[in-house]
Amino acid sequence: MAIKRDFPVFSERPGLVYLDSAASSQKPSVVLEALDDFYRRHYANVHRGIYQLSEEATRAYEGARAQVAAFFGAGAADLVFTRNATEAINLVGRTWGDLLEPGDQILVTVMEHHSNLIPWQQLAGRKGASIVWADIDDQGRLDLEGIARLLEAGGVRLVAVTQMSNVLGTVNPISWIAEQAHRAGALLLVDGAQSAAHLPLNLASLGADFFAFSGHKLGGPSGIGGLIARPGLLEEMPPFLGGGEMIREVWLDRATFADPPQRFEAGTPAIAEAVALARAVTYLDTLGIAELWKAERQLTERLLDGLDALGLPCFGPRGEDRAGVASFNLPGIHAHDLASFLDLRGIAVRAGHHCAQPLMRRLGQAATARASLFAYSDAADVDALLSALAEAKAFFA
């Protein structure tokens, strides 16, 4: 309840039970104030002007880079701002990926979000590489032996895996995968779109070579995300988009390029968004990510126990490797109809394929309903959902 008060939407829309945070989170007032204040008092383009306002904007933007990087246990020079996690993953595909050769393999898993799958299909198409994939077990955990086997076979250059499934809630053992990948000579890209907002993270020790995240899922504004690379790795990569900011010297027919991270940020960046994102991560830091995760774990158990009691089959594992995401179905009725029933009671859940069609096919589901939690979620939200589901069961019976 205390945390909910920090998020204006809950007073603006009393009665809202928002359980779609895995799609995007609501914003705390400190983030909205940071946005507003920046535009009112310090806005100018960055890296360009030598007047005071531009200097302030540049300091705010580069300061935000340092704060956001530090939140993940990384250095500012290793963080490239992007629009979202999707663009961060594509950036790797179109820069580091240019170095792939025909026959090279990219290892993905059946639980990947389309954003961590299509860029690799596109890369494979451009380079004559191929996609190999790891399955899940009946609990929705990754088939680690399968991963080990694929890596041992020797052709894998990149492992691209999510740290947290947006459908199953599974938290994957990234450090273990990193070790296997590196032993096999492959790099590891971690899709942190979900985990960034939930898990205490220290990229310096996680073992990922690339880490992609979105600001809008962790209380930050839309329009910004980032790619964090292992120190030194960005240096070796060719540029991505071309334009202002990313150059050193330009002639009509050729150019030389700036050092990272600027090399990968063409054109005017999402300046105010970076500043507001930095405010979002300092807000989360104040709440304490480790405490939030503990609270989420408890609330997740309450949710899963409640679904069990209602007899609603729910996908994904039980245990410490399970985040606050619950995908389920009410037998005999389509997830969309269920979601509408809940919506009429002010309960926002998602219904559909959750941008994970291969996983839905693997689960044998055309669609599921999904409830997901963030820092502001509380027992009242979960209980409202559970009692509405009990009603729905009766209604659709």
């Binding site: 005999g332 969309h336 109809d337 509408s340 029933f341 919506d343 009429l344 559909g352 669609a367």
Partner: protein, 147 residues
């Protein structure tokens, strides 16, 4: 209970569970329709019998609203002329977008309460837009119907 829940209880769930005109239709052309944003799939079987009265059937995978809409549509339009079917389709589509509700739509008139759930309007529309493009002169090549 809201009007919309009434719609579900009195019409939608019945047609969802016991769809009329469900399954392939011999001698008919086959028109697939899809709602990419939610994944609903539908196949409309349409037999124009030359210029005679229409015969319709469908198969679908999707939510109750789109299936009930398809079932009611097939019920209403079977035996009408192509022109009349197109006219009724336009009337139904207008209803969903806040137009007046003509009596001739029968139970389908109740779908106007979807104004409360605008995100579901595409579900109700899918069978009808599939039909309109099947009836249009520059319609896409239909697959031959499975026997």
């Amino acid at each position: 209970m809201s009007l919309l829940e009434n719609l579900y209880r009195e019409i939608v769930l019945d047609h969802y569970r016991h769809p009329r005109h469900y399954g392939p239709l011999e001698g008919a052309e086959r028109f697939p329709g899809q709602n990419p944003s939610c994944g609903d799939h539908l196949v409309l079987y349409l037999d124009r019998q030359g210029d005679g009265p229409l015969r319709l059937a469908f198969e679908a995978e999707g939510c109750a609203i789109s299936q009930a809409s398809a079932s009611l549509m097939a019920d209403l339009l079977t035996g009408t002329s192509a022109d009349r079917a197109a006219e009724l389709a336009r009337a139904f589509i207008a209803t969903l977008h806040g137009g007046s509700v003509p009596e001739e739509l029968g139970d389908l008139a109740a779908f106007s309460t979807l104004a409360q759930l605008p995100a579901r309007i595409p579900c109700a529309l899918l069978p009808w837009t599939t039909l309109l493009s099947a009836l249009s002169p520059d319609r896409p090549a239909a697959d031959p119907a499975a026997p």
